[in-house]
């Protein structure tokens, strides 16, 4: 099974977490990215995500492989939403299981940081004032 996935339908964190279950793991750290109703001082109504799917899947898989190589973890998974999302919806889920919590926290943080930095997915924010904008991570429009 692929460790990284894209989904154009809502994510089910409980089902995703169950796939990490392991008798030898003592720690599981999950990161959930939720659609926030504000950004940089502007009211946000909803989000849209586009992905260049073949490359996003390959790069996401590479990141999860790196996490398994760098940290003493057992399992690592990530799924990212595409399409239109409402406020409060789950946009990205990362889960890492490990024997000990140090590795689980470090690997989970590594995965979400690298996903945001490297995977070809773009966020379009729709604002309360009618404007919208594709966001660069540094806040500048692109």
């Amino acid at each position: 099974m692929s460790a990284f996935g894209l989904s154009d339908t809502p994510l089910d964190p409980a089902a995703l977490a169950r796939e990490l279950a392991s008798a030898s793991a003592g720690a599981c750290v999950n990161f959930e990215g939720w659609v926030r109703n504000h950004n940089e001082g502007k009211a946000v109504l909803r989000l849209g995500y586009q992905a260049y799917a073949p490359l996003a899947l390959a790069e996401g898989e590479r990141i999860l492989t790196e996490a398994r190589e760098r940290f003493a973890i057992e399992g690592a998974r990530c799924v990212h939403r595409t399409g239109e999302l409402a406020i409060g919806e789950l946009a990205v889920w990362v889960g890492v299981s490990a024997a000990h919590r140090d590795a689980a926290f470090a690997a989970c943080r590594y995965v979400i940081d690298e996903i945001k930095r490297r995977v070809p997915i773009w966020k379009n924010e729709f604002y309360a004032d009618g404007a919208s904008g594709w966001l660069h991570p540094d806040g500048t429009p692109v």
């Binding site: 260049y52 990212h80 930095r117 070809p120 773009w122 660069h136 991570p137 692109v142």
Partner: protein, 79 residues
């Protein structure tokens, strides 16, 4: 040569299309982007973009072949 180009995010908005086929003499992504930027009036400089060829990241000097799928990637913003 003929290339298949895909556009995402602000580049898709600006070009008005998700994909197009383009006949071009450009031999690498750098030359191809210069042509595409002029054709569509794109303002993002290449320094802010990455390149993918046939579904993998590639350099701006990569030699292109007929039929290649070329994508100019705006700065990503997933998560």
């Amino acid at each position: 040569m003929q290339y298949r180009l895909l556009y995402f995010a602000s580049l898709r908005d600006r070009t008005g299309c998700a994909a197009e086929s383009l006949v071009s003499t450009a031999a690498d992504p750098r030359a191809l982007y210069a042509q595409v930027a002029e054709r569509h009036g794109l303002s993002l400089p290449p320094e802010r973009l990455r390149v993918a060829v046939n579904g993998e990241f590639a350099g701006w000097d990569r030699s292109l072949r007929d039929g290649d799928e070329v994508v100019f990637l705006p700065p990503v913003s997933g998560g």
